[in-house]
C-alpha cells in the first residue's frame, strides 16, 4: 500500500514530499524519543510522532522510514519543511492522536 492511499483514505495533510507519495508503506512505528526510533523503526515504516523539529527530519533520513506522520495537529516549522524537501523526506500531519492513527495505519496495512 502506497503513501498516497494513506493520505487519501485517512485525510492526512502533506507538509512535504508531495512528489514521493508512491513510496510503499510496509509497517508502522510510534515514538518520540529519536534514538529509540532510530534503533527500532524499520525501513518503510510510517513513523507516527508528536516531534516536529529539524532532528526529526534527520532521523527520518537515517532510518529510511516511508514518512513522518505528525499527530495531534502538530505542525512543522518552515525550516523543518524546507529541510524535509531538500532531503526527500515525506512529512504528513493529522489532528488525530497517535493511538488512533496507529490503529488506522494498522487497519490499512491489513487490507494489503
Amino acid at each position: 500500500m502506497k503513501l498516497r492511499d494513506f493520505v487519501n483514505d485517512m485525510g492526512l495533510r502533506v507538509f512535504a514530499g508531495e512528489d514521493n507519495l508512491d513510496t510503499e508503506v510496509t509497517g508502522g512505528y510510534c515514538g518520540d524519543l529519536l534514538s529509540w526510533v532510530m534503533g527500532r523503526a524499520k525501513p518503510g515504516d510510517m513513523w507516527i510522532t508528536i516531534m516536529s523539529n529539524l532532528n526529526t527530519v534527520a532521523v527520518a533520513v537515517m532510518s529510511d522510514v516511508a514518512a513522518v506522520l505528525m499527530a495531534e495537529g502538530v505542525e512543522p516549522g518552515d525550516d523543518v519543511i524546507q529541510r524535509a524537501r531538500e532531503r526527500d523526506v515525506v512529512l504528513l500531519g493529522s489532528d488525530e492522536p497517535i493511538y488512533e492513527l496507529a490503529a488506522a495505519v494498522s487497519k490499512k496495512l491489513g487490507e494489503g
Partner: protein, 142 residues
C-alpha cells in the same frame, strides 16, 4: 594509501542542533552513489548519526573521519570533550546524562552508544575524563 579508499572528514559543531546530522546525511548520500546496499547504508547511517549527535550534545563538537574501502566503512569519532566517567553505565540502554532541554528535543533516550554498538560490526571506545573520547566503528559492506 591505496587508490580504492575514499576518505572523508567532518568537523562537528557543539550544541548546534540545526545542522546535526548533516555529516551523516552526506555520507549516506555518497554511499548510495557508490551503490552500497541499503541495509549497509542504514546500519552505517544510524551508527554515525548517534555518534554525531553525541558530539553535539556532550562533547562540544568533534571530528569524524570516514574511510570507505571495498570491504568496509570505518568511522572514527574523536572529540576533546569531558570524557565518559562510567563507560559501562553509558553503554547500557536507558542511561543518559542529557539535560531536560535535550530531552525535550527528543534526545537523551540513553540509546546512543547502545545503538552505535548494535549497528556497527566492530566498536571500540577509548575515553579519558577531562581529555576526550575516540570511538572507532566499522560496518562491513554486504
Amino acid at each position: 594509501m591505496p587508490d580504492n579508499v575514499l576518505t572523508l572528514h567532518y568537523d562537528i559543531e557543539g550544541n548546534d542542533f540545526t545542522s546535526a546530522g548533516e555529516a551523516s546525511g552526506d555520507v549516506k548520500r555518497k554511499l548510495r552513489m557508490l551503490g552500497i546496499s541499503p541495509n549497509t547504508i542504514r546500519k552505517l547511517a544510524v551508527a554515525m548519526y548517534e555518534g554525531e549527535i553525541n558530539q553535539v550534545i556532550h562533547a562540544n563538537g568533534g571530528h569524524i573521519d570516514v574511510e570507505i574501502t571495498p570491504q568496509l566503512i570505518k568511522i572514527v569519532l574523536s572529540d576533546e570533550g569531558p570524557g565518559i566517567p562510567d563507560v559501562e553505565a553509558a553503554m547500557s540502554e536507558g542511561f543518559s546524562t542529557a539535560t531536560e532541554e535535550i530531552h525535550n528535543m527528543g534526545f537523551g533516550a540513553g540509546m546512543g552508544l547502545p545503538n552505535m554498538k548494535k549497528y556497527s560490526d566492530t566498536f571500540e571506545l577509548e575515553t579519558e575524563v577531562g581529555k576526550g573520547t575516540v570511538i572507532t566503528m566499522t560496518v562491513n559492506i554486504e
